[in-house]
Symmetry: C2
Subunit: 120 residues, 2 copies
């Protein structure tokens, strides 16, 4: 491998690294994504159950956010063939795998908040 | 502990959890924070070294981002009493502790990007 190739490889890896983190940030950024994901960690829920679980979210906003999470492959919308039709939302495997990211962020955030308070 | 107290406690914990994650998101969101933090993982650097290490960042933007990271307790600005004066930037302990968060995000992002490509 020439020096140029190696340099390009390192640059490519570094770009993928940044893109990977940005993907993760995009998926969980905003006011509502995280509460919705957290609500679904313990199992699938109906729209009304999510609405009740998440403080102050409007049905319109919940619908919009669920659609975005579905498009990003984080949430599945399951239509059960019953009468009346039952629609439930559940995390995909990618969605469940966000737990380790969120846990790391909570851990850091709690420690850091503490540090910030000490600096005041 | 009464039922009301317990409910309030759970609600308070849940709020702290969300605040903690939002703190973490705020610190690392945006185009430049992460490349700057990543550049400092292997030790302190001068302004010019950071400018060279980070692709396409302007001196003005680098200066702005470093100030924000300093205010958030992520970066220390060390002024060495030499002639000429040497100024170096290094991660604080909080800054170094972001590594586990960023590693989790890279890991998830890389897996998720792969999943997204498969869905296409």
């Amino acid at each position: 491998m020439s020096t140029i190739d190696r340099f390009e490889l390192i640059e490519q890896c570094s770009k993928n690294y940044v893109l990977a983190v940005n993907d993760t940030l995009n998926v969980i950024s905003g006011k509502w994504k995280l509460p919705i994901i957290a609500s679904l960690f313990d199992g699938e829920k109906r729209f009304k159950e999510l609405e009740d679980a998440i403080d102050k979210i409007s049905p319109r906003m919940l619908s919009k956010e669920l659609k975005e999470l579905e498009l990003n492959g984080i949430v599945n919308r399951n239509v059960h063939n019953t009468t009346p039709v039952l629609i439930e939302y559940e995390l995909t495997e990618s969605g469940h795998n966000l737990k380790s990211v969120i846990d790391a962020m909570v851990q850091w955030g709690l420690t850091h908040r503490h540090a910030v308070i000490n600096y005041d």
